[in-house]
């Protein structure tokens, strides 16, 4: 039985610039029906058809899970990435027909928690938009600490403050405001769960401090979709299907495999879900691992790669695909 999700045919119902970097996109079902219900923290994979090229990027759903008339995502423009966010910002207009996946949740709330402590950095605020809406509706106990570069780039900070008042704390980098992390982590009641979403550096910092201060790993949840990075082109032999392919500078290994007509399963395309994990049969060169799925030991072993976000530099690579 194959894994992966069902697709949804949607139409872009609105495009709203939020600030200099972030734009929000609204989708409705083309047949006018309600969209599938989702849980706070879920994402969809958005298919972007850009001429010959199809990009598939995961974005967290940020609307209230109680309202399934539309899905909303917020996309931060990345001027040096592979072009997915630029495509969304430049090409996607209201009325355009697109395809998104069914929602998948790899960052779900632990509903046993006596309190939910949320730490967001920058565009990492999006899954918390849905989670706070869900918890507020159920009378859940949460507190959100949100770090942004400047007040004008504090995406949805005003909305959150208005909705949840003192349950939301803001920190602005330009004013040198910093989360007092150790104090915050040491004053939470027993049974609190911690959630962090933001840049990799922030996630690592929070996880590291939480572990040192005695937070068990089961209570610390994080989500960081890696974006596939551009890099030098390389050649790969797919042993099972008997094909040799070239991965271009701006293409991910997974995209190149798919372009050759081979379809590994995936749920996130961001190095988190583990579905596209691929065995390495032989290699002569070095891996550029970019995922959060494989352990450090597995990265060092050179026996596995996550083709959605990781690359290779060297003479030859043979994969079990």
């Amino acid at each position: 039985m194959s894994t992966g999700t069902t697709k949804l045919d949607v139409v872009v119902s609105d495009v709203v610039p939020v600030n200099d970097l972030v734009t929000r996109f609204h989708f409705r079902r083309r047949d006018g029906e309600l969209l599938p219900t989702f849980s706070g923290g879920a994402h969809v994979v958005v298919e972007m058809r850009d001429g010959e090229r199809t990009r598939l990027n995961p974005y967290s759903l940020m609307g209230s899970p109680l309202d399934t008339r539309e899905y909303t995502i917020s996309v931060r423009r990345d001027d040096v990435g592979r072009g997915g966010s630029l495509f969304m910002h430049r090409n996607v207009k209201p009325g355009m027909e697109m395809v998104v996946s069914y929602p998948v949740n790899l960052f779900s709330l632990d509903l046993r928690a006596k309190k939910h402590l949320m730490l967001a950095g920058g565009i990492g605020i999006t899954p918390f938009m849905a989670q706070t809406a869900q918890l507020a509706a159920e009378g859940g106990n949460f507190e959100l600490h949100y770090t942004c570069r400047t007040a004008s780039l504090g995406t949805y900070a005003d909305v959150l403050r208005e909705r949840y008042d003192r349950r939301v704390r803001l920190y602005h980098d330009d004013l040198d405001e910093r989360i007092e992390l150790d104090r915050l982590l040491s004053t939470q009641p027993l049974g609190t769960h911690l959630y962090v979403c933001g840049p990799a550096g922030m996630i690592n910092w929070v996880r590291d401090r939480a572990a040192s201060l005695g937070w068990p790993s089961e209570t610390v949840h994080f989500e960081h979709f890696a974006a596939p990075q551009p890099g030098l082109p390389f050649d790969v032999t797919l042993a099972v299907s008997g094909k040799t392919i070239r991965v271009d500078e701006q293409q991910s290994l997974l995209e190149a495999i798919e372009a050759a007509g081979v379809d590994p399963p995936y749920l996130c395309r961001g190095g988190v879900c583990g579905q596209c994990e691929t065995n390495v049969i032989s290699c002569d060169g070095k891996f550029i691992h970019n995922d959060h799925w494989l352990s450090e030991e597995e990265h060092r072993s050179g026996k596995k790669i996550m083709p959605c976000v990781s690359r290779f530099e060297g003479r030859s690579l043979v994969l079990e695909r």
């Binding site: 989702f38 509903l111 869900q134």
Partner: protein
């Protein structure tokens, strides 16, 4: 036209029977002459008309009698239905799933009308017509899981997904094959399967868990499991083992056909949208040997499976005491001719 619901019992005088149409739709679980564990999971998609897979949530002629039996079990022992505090949201997910599926498959018997969070549910076979607010527990006579599973055939386990495992944190279990929800609630996937022999060593549960944690919304899966029960008794709980256990010593060559029942569980697995949990309905089908052997192919398959079953499995399934009597009885219906593979009747 709709289903004609039988008036029958699963205790005391045991008047449970299958109609001829229901014998032919019985989900016979053996497609060959041998049985061993496997991760026999497949997509839960709609099957042929007239089969138990015609609808994804099956309602049959035993519906009303089964719901009456469940009410009797719960009156005696309310611990058969439990939900840990964090599982209420998943209970609402399950209520939505079962109401939608039953109304979709059997519009003549069930109707669901939704106006925002104002819902009206009509269950004609049980004479229920309730209007309530979805998400507001105070508008229903029971919690959402208990409310809807008092109106749905089969047992239901709701699993919370966290830390890469599944946790049995809620359930309605009154027709179980000898396991205790009260004891197992709160356990993870490996723990509640711990007593099952042989399968752990084969890595069955590791693979099954990997599959189940990846079940996606809108893509349910299913598998069949089986055991045997003496008398058509739905409530074969460990709680009451000292009451029904003696039945196993009552099997004689004369009464095998009437007393011994094959018990098949159609287990399905569904991702729940709001809670991100998994619900695991275990739908139980019973058929007595006299009914089963009306299909000669099933008689041959079953004879060979029971005869050749490893002793550990026979013991785990509780067959040991009457296995030889059953095999002897079935052997007379097996001429030894080759049997076509496949589940269906001849």
């Amino acid at each position: 036209m709709g289903i004609t619901f039988r008036k029958e019992t699963f205790r005391d005088d045991f008047t449970f029977r299958n109609s001829p149409e229901h014998i032919r739709r019985f989900p016979f679980p053996f497609h060959e002459d041998a049985y061993m564990y496997a991760v026999n999971i497949e997509p839960h998609v709609v099957g042929p008309k007239g089969s138990v897979l015609e609808n994804l949530i099956d309602v049959d002629e035993h519906y009303v009698a089964e719901m009456q039996d469940r009410a009797l079990v719960l009156a005696e022992d309310p611990l058969r239905c439990q939900s840990l505090p964090h599982m209420t949201l998943a209970g609402w997910d399950l209520l939505e799933l079962l109401m939608e599926q039953q109304a979709l498959g059997y519009p003549e018997h069930f109707t669901l009308t939704r106006d925002g969070d104002r819902w009206r549910w009509i269950n004609r076979p049980l004479g229920i017509d309730d209007t309530f607010t979805f998400g507001d527990t105070s508008t229903l006579p029971y919690g959402p899981m208990e409310y809807i599973t008092r109106q749905s055939q089969g047992d239901f386990c709701i699993l919370d997904q966290r830390d890469g495992n599944l946790w049995m944190d809620a359930g309605m279990v009154t027709t179980q094959a000898d396991w205790s929800l009260d004891f197992d609630i709160g356990m993870n996937f490996f723990e509640w399967h711990a007593p099952v022999p042989l399968a752990h060593e084969k890595g069955i549960f590791v693979r099954a868990l990997k599959f189940l944690t990846n079940i996606q919304q809108g893509k349910p899966a299913r598998r069949l499991n089986w055991t045997m029960t003496i008398n058509p008794r739905l409530d074969t709980s460990p709680e009451n083992y000292h009451k029904w256990g003696p039945d196993r010593a009552t099997v004689t060559p004369e009464n095998v056909g009437d007393k011994v029942h094959l018990r098949v569980e159609l287990q399905s697995f569904w991702r729940l949208p709001r809670s991100n949990g998994i619900v695991f309905p275990i739908r139980c089908y019973l058929i007595k040997m006299d009914e089963l052997v009306t299909q000669p192919k099933w008689a041959r398959h079953l004879h060979r499976v029971i005869r050749d079953l490893p002793d550990e499995l026979a013991n785990y399934k509780g067959l040991t005491r009457y296995r030889s009597t059953l095999v002897e009885w079935l052997s007379k219906l097996d001429d030894g001719s080759p049997t076509n593979p496949g589940f269906g009747p001849d």
